[in-house]
Amino acid sequence: MKSGYSGLTPVQLTGLFLGIFGLILPFLLPLGSLSFAGQIGLGIFLMAAVFWMFEPIPIYATSMLVIFLQIVLLSAQGPMFMDAKLPSAEPVQLQEHTWQIPTRALKDDNTVLVITEPGKTEAVRVDVVERNGQHVIVRSEELSSDRAIVTDTGHRLVNYRPNSYTDYIGTLANPIIILFLGGFMLAEASVKYNLDKNLTRYLLSPFGSSPRFIILGLMLVTAALSAFMSNTATAAMMVTVILPIIAQLEPGDRFKFGLALSIPVAANIGGIATPIGTPPNAIVIAALTEYGKSISFTDWIIVAFPLVIVMLVFAWWLLLAFFPPSVDKFNLDMKGKINLSPKAIGLYVIFGATVLLWVTENQHGIPSSMVAFLPVAALVTGRILTKNDIRNLPWDVLWLMAGGISLGIGMDKTGLAVWMISGFDWGAMGYITLILAFGLVAVAMSNFLSNTVTATLLMPLVISLHTSGVMGDSFNLLITGIVIAVACSLAMALPISTPPNAIAMSTGIIRTKDMAKVGVIIGAVGVMLVLAYAVFYWPLVTN
């Protein structure tokens, strides 16, 4: 969130230079085993991380820049790898088990790289017999004259097979992005026809006029809406609901703090409940799907919903404990009338059908991303959304997620992710400690960074812990991924933590210290709860 009105702040300017420095840094340091492509990948990763942290450019711009740099620097069609061919030759047999190979084919550790399949090599140990300038004579039982060896072991294609650039730009049409597109269009139409406000009015009415239950009602409705709509739009809408209530309170009444905090807290937590609730979920689901651990809409709800309910009730209790109500009764008078125009009714039908198909994915088996195209097509076919409405969609968020997914692909593909985890003895840590550590790191990071960015930076590590197998059999990729997604949404200690927090803080009603107090407790209790779910509940409902 940019705080200034114009120009770059000193912090942003620092970030700009640090980020550019990060891009070239891997080429200035001896990084040992990291491949050339891995060095490029590390440069892009460092630049993106710094840009996302300091925001010298908007975070969606960083995402687009990531994709641009990847297609130019890492793709098979980019100038770096366009004409590149891995130099190789068959070894020349002198006698049985004695071979003559080019000097540059022999690595410093006396191994030779045998090409097993395109883009893949295997290191084979050899005994050096004699060196004579251009060639080396070696003894080995594993070399053979029909298997080519790499004749330049320092070449940039060693252990790297570049992706087509279409893999990187294609992330914008990743199924999870399409799922979000469907959600965004439903949300856009809901706002246009005031479905969100009218639903709020109806859903709040059973909660009566007691302040305690009004807060509970506000939190449940906020969470329910933000599970399907943007957390930010929901929070903005609910702020318009609570401002008139707060105006009824005495100026010094502390209950207003609780009331104003209930909205961002519930909006942040509500995003956890469904795959489309909040962008970090998308980053995690996309990465899991890439490694064969796809999770259906239904399964996500089974996993997340019980956690959301417990967190909401806890947060409700916490807010009431800190800021007890001072009056017995509130007047919650929401004006408005349900829109019954044909287009609005069309929206209600499409909305209902889509949500129904989403939550019953396990029963009918149609992937949620396919279902997401129902609202996409139906809302424009029925002219419920027009050209201007489509232009108004949060495309920046789709690009932000696409860039995050793309960065993950690059980190995995270049071997960077595995290299990054290689310096640490993860196996000694134990699975439960690992989950706890990831949860705490995710909450801590996303209090300062965008939730999506946090998920983007952490997911490649989770994936490489899985692919490298260093954690052994106890490691559960799916559950660790879910821990990351949930923990990213539990960060709400600062105004900059999430846009709903920023909106609530901007009303001028809350003090930063109240937000911090409530946010830190929710974050800490939340991570413990996530750990408990990850150990006792999630293994039962996932496979």
Binding site: M1, K2, S3, G4, Y5, S6, I59, E188, V191, K192, D196, S230, N231, T232, A233, A236, M237, V239, T240, L243, P244, G271, T278, P279, N392, L393, P394, D396, V397, L400, S450, N451, T452, V453, T498, P499, A502, I503, S506, T507, G508
Partner: protein, 167 residues
């Protein structure tokens, strides 16, 4: 409260009246710096200087009877200038006749007419409402204005225009 680059311009030839207007706008001044001018000519200079510095004129409170060009003429001129077209324009006067007022309404798209004498509450309410319109129409990031201006309308604008998205 951080100073924004949106200015309030008060144009009034009587110094005591001008001081009174500025005093009444004190609550807004922390975020919206107030500039003053005693004549249409001086107002033009102030506006040129502000625009040259990359600032914006959000609200113009203008008396009618001024030395040289009168207030209505000035507002019409500013309405025609694309750089001050979006500025919210208020005629704060006791002396504009019906003809002048109608002219201001039709040709300068006057946003509000405050008859003298005014009350502080009225002046603040009108200024807050017009500045809210201005920031909603003109600013990308409207969050910093929420606590000073109309929070309900700014939230509603975030909801409908999606100027802030989930990250």
């Amino acid at each position: 409260m951080e100073r924004s680059d949106i200015y309030i311009l008060c144009i009034e030839d009587e110094q005591e009246v001008l001081d009174a207007v500025v005093r009444d706008l004190e609550k807004l001044e922390e975020q919206f710096p107030v500039e003053t001018a005693n004549s249409a000519e001086e107002a033009r200079e102030v506006i040129e200087k502000l625009l040259d510095d990359g600032k914006k004129v959000g609200l113009i409170l203008c008396d009618h009877i001024l030395p040289g060009d009168n207030g209505v003429e000035l507002l019409i001129e500013l309405h025609k200038d694309e750089r001050t077209f979006a500025s919210r324009k208020v005629l704060l006067t006791g002396q504009a006749g019906l003809d002048d007022t109608v002219k201001a309404l039709n040709e300068a798209r006057l946003h509000h007419y405050i008859p003298k004498p005014w009350t502080r509450e009225d002046l603040l309410e009108v200024s807050v409402s017009l500045l809210t319109d201005f920031v909603i129409d003109e600013e990308d990031n409207i969050l910093p204005y929420m606590s000073t201006l109309d929070a309900e309308r700014i939230s509603e604008s975030i909801r409908t225009r999606r100027s802030i998205s989930d990250e």
